[in-house]
Symmetry: C2
Subunit: 196 residues, 2 copies
DNA sequence: TGCAAATAATACCTATTAGTATGTTTTTAT
DNA sequence: ATAAAAACATACTAATAGGTATTATTTGCA
């Protein structure tokens, strides 16, 4: 990796961490410069403006994270119920990047930016839809294998699960307590079993 | 109502509308002054600072809204499944204040403020817990009446439903389309029926 | 090696931010 | 009616925001 690309990536990563903690609007360029030890000249060499950096974070960091942590675990051949439950369990309990007090980065970005920056909402919608789509595909496969009832609407279930995930992240953020997750997971398991 | 209380309320209401649209951090005092036609002197006579106004919005506006729109509809004697479904349907489809492109004000506030202002998160948690608690009570009642299965954990279900509600609000915000709600509601109905 | 292009550093600018100081007008109570 | 208190108005401040202009330093390559 060239040195220049290193600074670019450094900016993206540190900025992402800051934004995940503090929110996009309240993370200033100067904040980012302070934690990256990068100067303003370097920053604006790599990014036209703050929003362009935000989009880059979504496309170059969030997208891969989603692919590896949210989507890849769905690609196995167990039954959908276990696969989906295990994924959500992993995301809520085990994943060491996602912090209870900061919620879900994708949801945070959405809440903050969706209604007034089309580039942001477009990029976010893209990665979200991919998650839902993959989850739906898993369920369809399960239907074919007879692991899931015929009358189940796969996409509808996927959306329902994804919504619950986002919501419980917000809930736990409010209480700043992982216990909320345990309660949620129990009900999720019960719910998923009704798909059989 | 005294005139002074009128200006105070005016500030709270207009500020709330602005914050619901644009977010708390990005709504400046000057924004609020411009839309209320109130001067800075008047503003700071009524509120010590911006955050105190934020807390006042939560306690004096959000709380009553929650009580009337989220909690009161739960106080009837139909069965929990219909009661809860109708509530969520009302909130997502019929309520004319909540806008699809702006999500849920409580969730917005939570996402933006919870992790770095304890007063905010405390006030928000209070109203949220009240909603969940009431929903749980409805389910408990249903269990007693034999409308809900015995092995159902009332609080767990209430949390699950509330999470889904918050999550789907965020989802629809991203797509800026109420269609998402319809899909969600179908699955919610199916889920709620598994409680019987 | 040298020089052009890529990368980075510094100093600055204007707008906006939350908040204050100080004054003026309204209300209220007597 | 009047004085005191409540309510509001105006002008300001210091800090911070995102962004730019200009200059300096590296880097790749002929």
């Amino acid at each position: 990796m060239k040195k220049a690309e290193g600074t670019r990536l450094n900016i993206l990563q540190k900025a992402f961490a800051l934004i995940y903690e503090k929110g996009y609007q309240t993370t200033s360029i100067d904040d980012i410069l302070a934690t990256t030890q990068v100067t303003k000249g370097a920053f604006y060499y790599h990014f036209k403006n703050k929003d362009e950096m935000g989009i880059a974070i979504i496309n170059e960091l969030l997208k891969p994270i989603l692919a590896s942590s949210f989507i890849a675990p769905l690609q196995n051949d167990k039954n959908p119920v276990d696969t989906i439950y295990n994924l959500i369990h992993y995301l809520l309990i085990e994943d060491e990047f996602l912090q209870v007090q900061h919620g879900c980065p994708v949801a945070n970005f959405t809440q903050e930016m969706a209604s007034w920056n089309k580039d942001f909402s477009h990029a976010l919608n893209e990665i979200t839809q991919q998650w839902v789509k993959t989850m739906a595909a898993v369920i369809v496969k399960g239907k074919e294998k007879g692991q899931i009832r015929d009358d189940i609407n796969a996409r509808q279930v996927a959306m329902f699960v994804a919504s619950g995930y986002w919501g419980v992240r917000n809930f736990a953020k409010l209480e700043n307590d992982k216990k909320v997750y345990l309660s949620y997971l129990k009900e999720l398991k019960r719910y998923l079993n009704t798909l059989k």
